[in-house]
Amino acid sequence: MAYNSFAYLVVFLGAAFLCYTIAPMRMKHSVLLVFSYLFYFLNSRMLVLFQLFTTLTVYYAGIFMNRIDDGARLAKPTLPAEAKSGYRNVIKWQKRGVMLICVLLNVGILVFLKYYNFLSLSLDALMSALHLPTFFPQFDWLKLPAGISFYTLQASGYVIDVYRGKYRASERLGKVALFLVFFPQVVEGPIGRFDELGEQLYEGHPFDYKRDAFALQLILWGLFKKMVLADRANPFVDEVFGNYTAYSGAMTALGALVYTLQIYADFSGVIDIVTGSAELFGVRLAKNFDRPFFSHTVSEFWRRWHMTLGSWLRDYVFYPISLSRWSQKLGRRAREKLGEFLGGALTMSVALFAVWMTMGVWHGVGWKYTAYGLYYFLIVLAGTLLEPVNRFISAKTGLNRESRGFKAWQILRTFLLVTVGMMLFRADTVGAFFHMFRSLFGGSQMDVLLDGRAFSHGMDQSDLLILALGAVLLLVVGLLQEKHPDLREALAEKPTAFRWTVYFALILALVIFGAYGGAYRAVDPIYGRF
């Protein structure tokens, strides 16, 4: 049941909202829990058992760590002063053991279900190349439970937070279960944190007209992005990337640009739909997009695109590695040998490498995704290492890095780097990507674009016009959000006639220009298959 389907939006969400609204306060979380498991079962059938397994292991790991802490609190006052430090260490290691077992178990399940077939094929290929017998069976029956890549990270974050002492584990199984299976976010995030989401989900929220009206507006906006823009772009993108050897120059570039628009409209559109869905129940999910194409650097882009994944990787991969004792020791030695700047930057590159590799492989199975992570790692590393060089050049040439012209150049440069990254992400293979990249500088195919032949490859003139206008609309909305971070609030202050014109225009656009019907196929959300 896709988030942009009639079944979800009208039937399922409608029923959930109705039941939630009429249920008494203390039962509201149970309504959400029941509907969430129903949603999960409808999407993944018996694979719901994996969700339940993660929930139970994470819940009991938390409880276990609570008991260890409680025991330590009682025992510490009775200990002699010299034994306290050693005792603290023992407690830390006990909790660490519980946390590691839980996290490794759940991440292990994710890795096995998602990557086993690919890894075993690759290892067997290596064995064949070395004239050794192949060893690993393929399991074609391996299927992925919905959202496993998302909820596993969310679950791991909870267990690690409890281990770090950020908060105590919840004693209520229902609270932990709802945090992991809440239906608006279970399939493609945003990846939530328990201290921000746990209580919100569990406490009931009464009906609020303004809040729910805002929620519906957000859902409408998300649907517009997904169905008018993203799904309309799909046939052309499929064509250019599927038959990439037939295209070059302007056609390949157009394909890459249209795909960048597609993936942004698709992912942010679905995120708007699920955020609006959650808002109907008074739950505020974490922000996942902050006008990413206004970013000045690739690092900034990844702080504004898929924000919850970026912050998860920062807090649970980057900081633990870069702030660990061995990394700090390595850093000290590197700074002594190579100087403050180079030593620091190179030490950090170890943690950066781990982050970007994780980011790459999290997105999918295959060497292409490893290359995707490596692409951004090299760009971010180069950016860090070149910073003093850039400052030197600016000082010598008098270049004003705060000027609007320079900032505009930075935004354009970031956009181009990201579009190339998206091309890699969408290409069939790394080889296909390199072919497409090289072909950008080959035959220009401007004639194909200009004489209209381009418009028989999955996108006609009206499609291109709608996509272009859509991109302009997204840009305008992005610029408006700079002045009015909460556009819905700003819109609510406008006269009724203006507001309702906007709403009806969106609904009309959806009805008339939504990509459904004979010529289009329903496109599953791009991020819904992780």
Binding site: G165, Y319, Q328, A345
Partner: protein, 75 residues
Amino acid sequence: MDKLLKILSELKPGVDFEHETDLVGKGILDSLSIVMLAGEIADEFDVTVSPLDVVPENFRSAETILALIRKLQDE
């Protein structure tokens, strides 16, 4: 405070760390620079910065960073 200001200005030259109160919000200190900073203050002040300490509130200004250092020294 002087030692800290010296470390900060070597890390990010041209920033008025004495008066700036929104280092994280304005993007002056991002996760990369915070980690480099953590290494320097660990050496200079003999403290260990853990992932739990790396929250925006602790790195908002030179004052809050100094407060964090003092808290870690007391532990």
